[in-house]
Structures are given as C-alpha cells and as structure tokens.
Amino acid sequence: MPWTKFIAGNQDYPSEVQEISDDLRKITYSEAIREALDQALAHDERVFIMGQGVDDPGGVFGATLNLHKKYGSIRVFDTPLSENALTGIAIGSALAGMRPFYCHNRPDFLLLTMDQIVNHASKWSYMFGGTAQVPLVIWSVTARGWGSAAQHSQALQGLFMHIPGLKLVMPSTPYDAKGLIISSIADNNPVIILEHRWLFKQTGYVPEEIYSVPLGKGIVRRQGADVTIVAVSYMTMEALRAAEKLASAGISAEVIDLRTLKPLDEEIILNSLQKTGRLVIADTGWKTGGISAEIAAIVSEKGFDFLKKPIKRIACRDVPTPASYILEEEFYPDINDLVSAVMELV
C-alpha cells in the first residue's frame, strides 16, 4: 500500500521542539494543511479533493489554494451544494477504490449530510462484514466570532463522537494539522476532521517531507503536577495560556491536547490524572452530552480513585451561538474560565 511507509514511520515530535530550535522551518496552519493535501495528491492518484469553493480564489481559507491549477479540475473540483448526495458520492467513490477528501467551510452544513455519514459511511464496513471499506475524509472548519451566529459556528464533535465506525480528529498545531491529514487520508475508514478557524494563522514547525501523526494518540503539550487540563482544538491554546498564567501564581498545570477524539487516548488522560488528581476538561463545543461529558464519564469509570476533587468542565453554554459580541463573550469559554476552574480545584 502506498501509504504504509508514512504510517509505519510515525514521527511524533515533542511539543518543546518549537521552543528549542528557531532555525526549523515554520509555516502557517493553513499552509500546513495545503502542503499535506498537495503531497497526498502527488503521492497517490486515488486521492481527490472536492467541495464547495475548493478552487475559488481563497481556496477554503488557504487550505486548498491553487491545488486545482497544479492537479487539474478533475482531481480538485468545486461541487454543487447538495451536501447529502455529495457525501454519498464521495462514499461511493471510496467503495470503488478512490480516496476522497471532501471539504466543507462550515460544519453546520454537515448536518445536511448526517444520513450519508451516519447511516452509510460509518456502517459500511461493519454492516457488510468487512467486505467493503470507506477510505473517506470529511474536513470542515468551525468558525468563531464576528457575529457568525447560530448556523455558522457550531462545534459538532459531540454528535460525531457518538457514532461507532467513524474516526474523529481535531488538530491544534500546524505540525499536527499536516500529519493528521496524512494519517486520515491513509486510513481505510471514514474520518471526520474538525478544524478551528482561529488556528489558521498560527505558525509552527512543519517538516517539508510527508509524515504522519497517529490517530488515537494525544500529546502532553505542557508538563505539570497540580492539575490536568484536557483540551481539544483551539481550547488547547487557551489552556496553554491559562497554564502560563497559573504558573505565575505557583500552580503547575499539565496540558493535554487530545488531537483525536475517536479513537480516544484514554491512557494519556488517566496517566496524567494519576499524577495530578485534578481534572479540567476544555471543549470548543456544548457541554450537555458533549465530549467533556464523555471524557468525564470515562474518568469516573476508570480513574475515580485518582480524583482528589470533582471534575470541572469548560465548554460553550447550552444555547445557540448568539451574534452580538457582548453575548458571544458570555457564550464562549476562555482563559479566565479555565483559570477560575483550576483555582477552585487547588
């Protein structure tokens, strides 16, 4: 298989690399995504990219910029809206041996595709006893702020985490954005990647060569002893800022970036909790029935004896996203919520 060597050679670079070496190549998050797609297209002729606006002048926030010029409008093509049918079309092409990468600029529109994702893609391998497989990637970018409001800002990872047969990926660094896309394209199962718009401008170390970051493995972004903050996606950045602030108050916070929600790296959470005994879970989505609820449930089943204090959950308030910025500030959790939560635990 053309992807084996990248998966076998998983490079998992430590978070400290960024700080210790200034002469490593740094590019933006969106450039890292684009580079992953560019290299995947070059590497495997079964890979193709589809989605509304993938060939437009902005290239879906830069992620697909000009790839259609390099690989042609057959392999990188704009689509009709028809999100549900197009998802089924991507699945059908995957069943027939292709490796589609389907881009959506907002996950809100994935709600139109739930029949094909949940009833079809996620079930095909199991329902047919492993005789057919769906190597499909669905990629989408959650927005935040500037009055994006209720239908253009949803973080729907809780819905997808519920569904057996899917894989669910939420990167937070340029290095991971590239490496996790490579792993997702190489995977033989349907993978949902939920990006966060506020990460796209950050820069970081990204090797030029093609490489993969393993699905199902979290990473410790900052070592700590007093409290564990388990975060995903953009909340990892808020958690690192909170940890910095807490350090100046003499509190040592460990920050875990889950990177993949399905499969979930339970071990990295429980290992950290065993050390700190205190847990804060930080999500970009809603609290009720969301990923923070699931992680808290797993910890109470498997790590109850490690807990010195009740679990704290930092998530969006359970209302549709409001437009007015004053209400947005109330709706979204931030560094202050994290710091307050930690202060209540120590």
């Binding site: 292709m98 094909q116 047919f128 769906v134 190597p135």
Partner: protein, 326 residues
C-alpha cells in the same frame, strides 16, 4: 411481438432462467420463513423479477450495483453467491455480510455488488460516486442504482441526478415503481404518477416502461448501459411494476385492506415469468423437457444454498466488535 422475435434465443432463455431462479428462491424463503430461523425482516421481490433480470443481464461482472432493502432479486441477477446470501438470511458467519447485515444488507463485491442500503434512496448517491470513480480511472465500468418509487420522494435522488448529468457519469438509475410504499399508494404520496417526467428537467434521458416485460427492460437497459459505457452519461429508467406480496410478508396485502383483490388479480395476470414462458413456447424455444431441466437445476442450487446456510456456524459472540473498522 415482432420486436420480441428479434431477441437472441439464448438471451431469452437466460432471462427466463434468471427470473425463475429469483422467483423460486423467494418462494423457498417464504416457505421456510415461518420456522423463525431466518431472524431478519424479509422483503420479497415476487412480481418484480423482470427488472433485476433485464438490467443485470446487460452488465459485466465488474460493473457496480447498489441495491436496497428489497435486494434479493438484484443480488441473484448480478450473480451473487447464492449460498452466502441464504446464509446471511440465516444470520450465519458464512453469510455474505458475516451475519452483520441481514436480509436488507446484501453484498458481494466479487461481482460488483458494493452493498445495499435500507434507507430509502440511500444507495443512489453511492452508485453515482462509484460511477465517478470509473470516470477517474477511465475503466468503462457502469454503475446501477436500484430503488423504489418512495425514493422519488427523497431529495438525494434529485441531488444525485444533478451531479451525474453535470459530470456525465456512467450511472443508470433504475426506479422500480411498484405503486406502494409499505401500505401507502403512490397517488397519496406524489402528484402525478410518472416519476420519469419529473427528472427530465435535468436533461437526463428518461423513460417509463412496463417493468413486467423483461424484454422491454432488457432492451432499454442494453441501450442505456451501452451509451453510458461509451461516455454518454447517465440514464433514468422507470419500470412500472407491482410486488405481489406484502411489504415484508408472504401475504398479498389484500387481507389487510390497503389494496383490492381486483387490483392484485390484474397484476398477477401480468406475471413476468409466465409472460416470457408464453413467448418462449410460441417460438418453440422451450418445451416441457427443457423447462424441467431448468427447474431442476435451480431447485438443486437452492437446496445446496439452504443446506449450506442451515449447517453454517453462527457468528462468535466474542467477535461483536469485529469489522467495525477496516
């Protein structure tokens, strides 16, 4: 009748054999179903055999088919393995879906049947996507989506046709209009009963034919599939037909009152198999001896398949999670 004479005799015999096999398998399933050993909802294809047979007789082994909840006929017509199909109905590990799918989820990738969806219209975009893969590879394969009249009430049909026409995909949409969605007649669900007229607005070649006339199905399928294979794009075929059994029962549906005996009798008289048998006899292409030979061979295959299914092991309960991921 003149048109019918022009069909090569071996094709007519092949179609007859195929339809009879589908019918006989259905009847055997219906016969054994009350034993409660096939613990899966059964949707019989009795009365609609001409459609699967007439379409699939024009397909190559590596052409793709996507089926639906009423998929037994499509599976047999595409030459899926009968043993593993029956084993699937018996919930066995040797079933085509390893006992994970059941009657509504038949598959045999070795003959291009890439799966069956029991979500109405769910397989339509999948077949469209498989056709897209053929365009990428330039491999001349054709994809077929089988679906019922209920699928014409789902938006995904029109979304798929829009894309297939746009990209000129080699996909054949086969609408088996059997007039009922469970117990609901089409005139209570759709304005106007000619589904094909509704899709013509997409500039897709579309037609309506007598779905109980296997020769008519074969001929239109032959042209549509040939065109698609040569790059002519998609085709929509509406086949007017009738399921002679209830939605998922061996009864007729008349007993519970959603259709009349008169209507049922009218369609029973249009049995596609008896129809073709009459033509074959009139042309002296078949006699009682030949008919017996065909029947015996089918009966033997069915016997072997049911024996295989009954004697196969159930899945291992420790393998509940197996196949969740590929």
């Amino acid at each position: 009748m003149d048109e019918k004479v022009s069909m090569p005799p071996q094709v007519l015999t092949e179609l007859y054999t195929l339809m009879l096999e589908i019918r006989k398998v259905q009847l055997k399933i219906a016969e054994y179903y009350p034993e409660d050993e096939m613990r899966t909802p059964i949707h019989l294809y009795i009365g609609q055999e001409a459609i699967a047979a007439g379409i699939c007789a024009n397909l190559n082994a590596d052409d793709y088919v996507f089926s639906n909840h009423r998929g037994h006929g499509h599976y047999i017509a595409k030459k899926g393995n009968l043993n593993t199909m029956i084993a699937e109905l018996y919930n066995k590990e040797t079933g085509c879906s390893r006992g994970r799918g059941g009657s509504m989820h038949l598959v045999d990738t070795s003959v291009g049947l890439l799966g069956s969806s029991s979500i109405v219209a769910g397989g339509i975009p999948l077949a469209t996507g498989a056709a897209l893969a053929s365009v990428f590879r330039n491999d001349s394969r054709v994809s077929v989506a089988f679906f019922g009249d209920g699928a014409a009430e789902e938006g995904v049909l029109y979304e798929s046709i829009n894309f297939a026409v746009l990209k000129k995909l080699p996909v054949i949409y086969v609408c088996e209009n059997n007039l009922y969605s469970v117990c609901s007649p089409i005139n209570r669900r759709q304005p106007g009963q000619d589904i094909y007229k509704r899709v013509e607005g997409f500039s897709i070649p579309a037609c309506s034919i007598d779905g109980n006339d296997v020769i008519a199905v074969y001929k239109v399928a032959s042209q549509a599939i040939d065109d698609a294979r040569k790059g002519g794009g998609p085709y929509f075929i509406e086949c007017k037909t009738y399921r002679l059994t209830d939605h998922h029962d061996r009864k007729t549906g008349v007993e519970i009152g959603y259709r009349t005996q008169e209507e049922w009798d009218e369609w029973a008289a249009k049995c596609p198999i008896k129809n073709l048998e009459g033509i074959l006899r009139a042309q002296n292409l078949i006699n009682n001896h030949k008919l017996n030979e065909i029947e015996n061979a089918i009966d033997e295959r069915i016997k072997v398949a049911f024996n295989f299914a009954r004697t196969s092991p159930l899945p291992d309960r420790n393998e509940l999670y197996k196949y969740l991921y590929s």
